[in-house]
Amino acid sequence: MKSRFLFPYWCRYLGWGLVIAHVPVTMIARNQGLNVDSPLVNNGLFTGGHLFFISTALLMSLGLFLVAFAKEKIEDEQIWQIRLDSLRWAIYINYIVLITSLVFINDTGHILELNLCVPLLFFIIRFRWVIFRLNRSLSREG
């Protein structure tokens, strides 16, 4: 089965690496007292805060992106269906979260941040969960 617009299999590990790498970077940034949340408003382009913002937000979202859209070892039509289904659920959840937070929270910066990772995160969790369940039923069959 042709699978265009997907990253190679190894990108998954690269993606997890980036996601894990962003944790210490963020912690360092917060310890240094840098404003990682909205650096552009306060500082301008390519200042310390902005660079940290790039390295944290981008590292994480790029990592999640690579994990979410890396190929599976065997790409077949069932995987495609699961992927599509999970994407649909991710969009549903994202919009529920987005609309609820727009109505109840007056903090667009954090809503944007949430919006950056919720769909990808939920997609990855749902996708892997379904594949995990498939594998489990496989091992039960023997």
Partner: protein, 66 residues
């Protein structure tokens, strides 16, 4: 939709893994098709029918409500 892939596999004496490899899908997919959790595409169904050397209707049959 019902199917008798499990029976056909037993007749031909091949495992889920071997069938999966021949038709180019994962073992999970064959397993979900056999347990009626996943309906294969026409292409995949035709490929499997070719492996067993039988027409499609002998392997896949419609159920009430399909």
């Amino acid at each position: 939709m019902k199917n008798n892939i499990r029976v056909e596999r037993a007749i031909k004496n091949i495992t889920q893994g071997e069938l999966a490899e021949i038709v180019g899908v994962s073992r999970q997919t064959i397993n979900s098709i056999e347990s009626n959790k996943y309906v294969p595409s026409t292409v995949l169904a035709l490929k499997m029918a070719r492996v067993f050397g039988k027409p499609l209707e002998e392997i896949f049959t419609l159920e009430e409500g399909d």
